[in-house]
């Protein structure tokens, strides 16, 4: 693996203006094409999962379907609700889209390449705190949704906007905490340096024997990886966490009143956000643009030139597949379950895990006494947690005594009302119990 190909922080900020322009246009085009492709990909994959072909009319195997949809959206009437706050109604989708595009500017798409003779990293820019920029853009993107929901001057969008505000803030906490372990392990918040840190596994001495740990962080930091991905699904409002736009509850959620290009912008932002969180996941946990291990052993040049773009895109597409897979298989969570899961499961596990990672890192650099003290502390902590794990409280069943209602109220069915089984189920059960005598007994 040629580490010289991996860009350093000093390599950024020296580009000529036209190279910057090329990169900006390139990233814009990449994101728009990825959005069009992802919409088609999602419909196709969900179609396959539901035993139907999915879009197959426009273009070869339906590839141009999203383009046709986009054109159709552009020609629709742009409706401005009468009660809407005009300025905010207009700005909201713009905020969403701008934040979505901006977040991608620090994604490392590859190592050093040469564009028309200029040596430059395949990444628009990098900062010492690049990952925070992505989180900040995610945080600002909430405004688009909340304001869009509020400015519509209608109930369902407002409810959707409120839900999304609560949801995205909650899951942003879990997401930010899950990245902390990566920062500690990589020793940097810059995306290009995090990718470089995953190039080689570190040599670690565990009880006298030297072991090479796997380079990519998703194995070493598996809890962080899982929590990151779960909160990424929550952060992008995707099923099973798509409460802000739950069709069966809120019509369409925050964008119910939007039409035409403004709606298209929200749609674009949602899909770009999906691509961005997948790209960030690739960068933080899956080795970024580096080729997976078996390829690099028989092909030394896999990480050079423009090839990294391929590995990067493939990894992002695999993660996008997981997004679609989740949507195709899981039912939507109830709102309270969702909030409880975020605050009472993801955040505490994350905090304990960060403590653990920090302890191991201190232990790795300390002398033996401190090391054994830390490991002993972990053991005591573990035993303590097991011993004092709160037992499940016996939940008393709700009282089923009929409530005392004032005179003249509506009659209420009893709380212990049992719905009788449908006659059809009964018949099927019956048939299953006595399969030989079905035709006669069924009548």
């Amino acid at each position: 693996m040629n580490l010289a190909e991996s860009p350093k922080l000093e390599d950024f900020g020296h580009d000529v203006w036209w190279i910057i322009l090329i990169k900006v246009v390139g990233i814009f085009a990449f994101l728009v094409v990825m959005t069009l492709f992802t919409i088609w990909y999602e419909r196709k994959v969900v179609g396959r999962m539901q035993h139907r072909p999915g879009p197959n009319r426009v273009g070869p195997i339906g590839l141009l379907q999203s383009l046709a949809d986009g054109l159709k959206l552009a020609f629709k009437e742009d409706i401005m609700p009468k009660l809407a706050d005009k300025a905010v109604f207009f700005i909201a989708p713009v905020i969403s889209t701008v934040c979505a595009f901006t977040a991608f500017s620090i994604m490392p798409l590859g190592g050093m390449v040469s564009i028309f003779g200029e040596r430059t990293p395949l990444q628009l820019t990098d900062l010492p705190v690049a990952v925070l920029l992505v989180l900040a853009c995610g945080g600002l993107g909430i405004y688009g949704i909340v304001l869009g929901g509020w400015a519509s001057g209608s109930t369902y969008p407002l409810l959707g906007g409120l839900r999304s505000a609560a949801q995205m803030i909650s899951y942003e906490v879990a997401m930010g905490l899950s990245i902390v372990a990566v920062f500690m392990t990589a020793g940097s918040m810059s995306t290009s340096e995090i990718v470089a840190a995953q190039a080689n596994g570190s040599q670690q001495e565990i009880f006298g024997s030297t072991v090479t740990l796997p380079g990519w962080y998703f194995l070493m930091l598996l809890p962080s990886f899982l929590i990151y991905f779960i909160s990424a699904v929550g952060e992008t409002n995707r099923a099973p966490f798509d409460l802000p736009e739950a069709e069966s509850e809120l019509v369409g959620g925050f964008h119910t009143e939007y039409s035409s290009l403004k709606f298209a912008l929200f749609f674009l932002a949602e899909y770009i956000n999906m691509v961005t969180v997948s790209a960030l996941c690739t960068t933080l946990f899956l080795g970024g643009w580096r080729a997976p291990a078996p390829i690099t052993t028989w092909w030394a040049g896999a990480n050079e030139g423009w090839w990294p773009l391929l590995w990067f895109t493939v990894k992002v597409l695999i993660l996008l597949f997981v997004f679609v897979w989740l949507r195709g298989t899981l039912p939507r969570l109830r709102y309270d379950q969702f909030m409880r899961f975020g605050w009472k499961v993801l955040v505490p596990i994350n905090l304990v895990w960060i403590l653990l990672v920090a302890g191991v890192r201190v232990a790795a650099n300390a002398d033996n006494t401190v090391r054994y003290a830390i490991y002993g502390g972990f053991a005591v902590l573990l035993v303590g947690i097991i011993m004092f794990w709160p037992a499940k409280k016996q939940v008393e069943p709700a009282s089923i005594a009929p409530e005392k209602l004032p005179e003249g109220s509506f009659p209420i069915p009893p709380m212990d009302l049992v719905v009788p089984p449908s006659p059809r189920t009964k018949r099927i059960e019956h048939a299953a119990a006595a399969p030989s005598a079905t035709p006669e007994q069924g009548e």
Binding site: G139, A151, A166
Partner: protein
């Protein structure tokens, strides 16, 4: 005047102007949006002063979480579209307090630095900032965290209400 000076002045003007709009506008939600602009301009000031980490954390925490929560709370109760002139504001005392604290701080700064030149500190990277916080500023840091914890516990106690 260097570019840094001009940028700082311009961003300061944006921050002050939008802060003024926060307290003068009669649209509740727009007041929140002006607050976003003010805080964003502050973050940009930090960025100009090469404190990158502080700048992005400012955007992340204040713009991305605190004001969103404020908006969330107003929308949860009442956030009408359009002006709400029935809101009462204590104009005179508020102006007095605002001007007094602003003028006092300005006087303090002028008294402290006397228009002298201060060297720009080293870029505020995560490492530098961490060393500073956990060496010279440990006590304020911990006191602040206790304050936040107390606020958190207080909020829980208040929201639980009376229970037998």
């Amino acid at each position: 005047m260097t570019v840094t000076d001009i940028l700082l002045l311009a961003l300061g003007a944006v921050a002050a102007g939008s802060a003024l709009r926060v307290v003068t506008t009669t649209h509740i939600v727009r007041a929140g949006l002006w607050l976003v602009v003010a805080l964003g301009a502050m973050a940009a000031c930090y960025l100009v002063l090469t404190a990158e980490l502080v700048a992005w954390v400012q955007v992340l925490i204040y713009v991305g979480a605190v004001v969103v929560l404020l908006l969330f709370a107003t929308m949860l109760t009442r956030a009408p579209i359009g002006p709400s002139p029935e809101l009462d504001r204590a104009r005179f005392p508020a102006a007095l307090i605002g001007l007094g604290s602003g003028g006092g701080l300005a006087a303090l700064f002028i008294f402290g630095y006397r228009w002298g030149k201060a060297e720009l500190a080293a870029p505020g990277t995560a490492g530098v900032l961490g060393k500073e916080i956990f060496s010279g500023w440990v006590l304020p840091f911990e006191v602040l965290s206790i304050l936040l914890l107390a606020a958190l516990v207080g909020a829980i106690v208040v929201s639980r209400g009376e229970r037998s």
